[in-house]
């Protein structure tokens, strides 16, 4: 099957999102580009992982893909068609096909409704299932995410963190979406529960052929669940590749540092690349390559010119002067 000839389920073209931020008491409002020209494609049934640290714009990007945050420049296409405007009837109709799962399930759930009522809500809103069959569908959804039938009448606060996240996922699945955008869905869960939810998401996705955008700071979880991974730094994608290669042979110095910063159980700290400094404030973006002040490889060109995201190998892109130059010399 040739992926190139299929229409992506969701495609981002040059997405830009700018916020006005005022610094200090008398400062002027300065525009901050939280998302700064993002291009990406997600094929039906595929999982794209997005990793990055706080301030990388990964959560904003997630909301933009769903049309919740409208872009200032560029556009998002769903099944090849432009995303309708926020809160229009067309957008609402489309929302049934794309769902969002947040990090904090307690905030996403209404504490006054039982979880069965909340899972059934999208069925009623989008009028997807005739009323008499709704109860059966809710029961199906609950068993799909591993909730017991006797938990149907429980309220969110009566469930554990993992169970709540299951309920949120069941609700997201109710409208049989084609796309699930998950923003740190397992970050608040304990390791043993995290594994349960990750496995469940993988199973559901395979079974229902759902595409997924999985946003997380946890490289290990992303590697496990995603087919492809995009690494973001200060609003831009700096490297993208299949999850098998990107963590094994990272090319961009930032990806290298990220991979190296993950402590491996049972191994002592040795030969790790520890980045100096903090991620810069998006309001105060360094010139040229935004990563150059922390980069061990930075040369003069990195301070002056912004590296483009270029193809460096089959299905693999990177935005780094040093990497693209090295690849070019290998090719030559």
């Amino acid at each position: 099957m040739n992926e190139h000839f299929k229409t992506p389920l969701i495609e981002a073209k040059g997405l830009v999102r700018t916020y006005e931020v005022r610094q200090g008491m008398f400062g002027r409002a300065t525009p901050v580009r939280a998302v700064d020209g993002i291009d990406l494609k997600v094929m039906p049934g595929e999982t794209l992982g997005i990793v990055g640290e706080s301030g990388s714009g990964k959560s904003t990007l997630g909301r933009m893909l769903l049309g919740i945050d409208p872009p200032q420049e560029g556009q998002a296409l769903f099944e090849g068609k432009p995303m309708p405007k926020l809160a229009t009837p067309e957008w609402r109709a489309l929302r049934a096909k794309m769902q969002f799962v947040y990090q904090d399930p307690l905030a996403a759930l209404d504490r006054r409704l039982t979880i069965a009522e909340q899972i059934g809500e999208p069925l009623a809103i989008h009028n997807l299932v005739p009323k008499p069959h709704r109860e059966t569908r809710v029961a199906e959804l609950m068993s799909a995410v591993g909730l017991r039938p006797d938990q149907a009448g429980r309220y969110p606060h009566e469930l554990s963190g993992g169970q709540r996240q299951r309920a949120v996922i069941a609700r997201a699945l109710a409208s049989r979406p084609k796309l699930l955008v998950c923003d740190e869905p397992v970050s608040a869960l304990d390791v043993s529960i995290q594994a349960q939810v990750v496995n469940m998401l993988r199973d559901l996705q395979e079974k229902n052929h759902i595409a997924m955008v999985f946003i997380s700071h946890d490289l290990k979880v992303v590697r496990n669940i995603a087919d492809r991974v995009a690494v973001m730094y200060l609003g831009r994608i700096v490297e993208e590749a299949s999850s098998d290669v990107i963590f094994k042979t990272p090319l961009h110095p930032y990806t290298k540092a990220l991979v190296s910063s993950v402590p491996v159980p049972g191994k002592l700290l040795q030969g790790r690349v520890i980045l100096q400094g903090e991620p810069p404030n998006p309001a105060n973006r360094p010139s040229g390559c935004a990563f150059h002040p922390r980069c061990p490889l930075a040369a003069d060109i990195c301070r002056t010119s912004v590296p483009q995201l270029l193809s460096v190998a089959d299905g693999r892109t990177a935005a780094c002067h040093m990497v693209t130059r090295a690849e070019a010399s290998v090719a030559a």
């Binding site: 005022r22 200090g24 008491m25 008398f26 400062g27």
Partner: protein
């Protein structure tokens, strides 16, 4: 800093203008001063003459414009009853009111805040429960009931204190008490909840974990953080120094601003009522301004935000 201050000042002036405009319109729509002042049986010529003399025959908007113009030249009008300068009349009454409200504010602060803080630091103790109960009792009973209750106990039953007038310092005790009890309750409750909230914060645990003495943790780390909500309430109380005694002054026949207001409203003595309301609005606005400035002083995070 200049931009911040000028925005605040402009906002304050607009607030005052809104208050006096509102007062002006409502007062003029709510009854005819000529009828009230002169009584029901006077001939129409006298009423007309009165109206003409006070400019009440003019259209409302002309009256309003000349009133505003006069204010800007420092002329706050003349009392229709006493024919004296309205501002003069009001200013004469200020000391009497402050004689009640300042000691009352003092009592609220020195009793309410420590009681609340102490209760917060000794949660679930008998004293804590006592403070909560007393606080609820204090601020749920309206001051006219409280005033009568105190009169019943201390003047009528025990015969210890006078029930009205302004002759000696003993005359001030009951009205001051009446006024402070509610405020003590409010402050105690607010201080308690502010302090409980702060004591549960991680930085208090940090302060204990670094080996600070318990008293220092409370005084140096907890209280400065609890101060912000407490200052808000105290600031509001300062704002009511001038006008907060209307009911109590009436109960205890205390010749302050409150009494003057009641009398002037029932006489439709327009200039005097407007003067009092202007003064009340001004004290409110000024105390709000001070509270805002204090916020910045107390909490550095608000210093950065207040420009937004």
């Amino acid at each position: 800093m200049f931009r911040f201050a000028s925005i605040r000042l402009l906002r304050a002036l607009i607030t005052i203008l809104a208050v006096i405009t509102f007062a002006f319109v409502v007062l003029r729509l709510s009854g005819d001063p000529a009828q009230v002042m002169l009584g029901p049986d006077v001939p129409q010529e006298s009423v007309d003459a009165f109206r003409k003399a006070w400019g009440l025959d003019q259209p409302l908007w002309i009256q309003y414009l000349s009133y505003i113009r006069a204010i800007f030249t420092g002329d706050f009008g003349v009392s229709m009853r006493d024919k004296a300068s309205a501002m003069q009349l009001v200013i004469e009454r200020i000391p009497a009111t402050l004689q009640l409200t300042i000691p009352a504010l003092f009592l609220k602060v020195v009793i309410g805040i420590p009681a609340g803080v102490y209760a917060a630091l000794h949660r679930q103790s008998a004293i804590d429960r006592g403070v909560i109960l007393a606080a609820i009792f204090g601020f749920t009973i309206p001051s006219f009931v409280m005033g009568l209750l105190l009169v019943l106990i201390f003047s009528i039953t025990l015969g210890l204190l006078p029930s009205g007038g302004q002759d000696t310092w003993q005359h001030g005790i009951l009205p001051t008490l009446t006024m402070s009890i509610g405020g003590i309750g409010i402050l105690a409750r607010f201080s308690r909840s502010a302090m409980i909230e702060v004591m549960g914060q991680p930085y208090i645990r940090t302060a204990s974990a670094k080996g600070m003495k318990w008293q220092d943790v409370v005084w140096k780390h907890a209280l400065p953080n609890a101060a912000v909500p407490i200052v808000t309430i105290v600031g509001f109380m300062v704002g009511t120094l001038i006008a907060g005694a209307v009911v109590v002054e009436s109960i205890f026949s205390w010749p302050g601003i409150g009494r003057l207001l009641v009398v002037s409203v029932s006489n439709r003595d327009l200039a005097v009522v407007q003067c009092i309301l202007l003064l009340v609005a001004a004290t409110m606005v000024v105390s709000n301004l001070i509270v805002d400035l204090l916020y910045g002083f107390l909490d550095p995070r608000l210093r950065a935000q207040s420009a937004h």
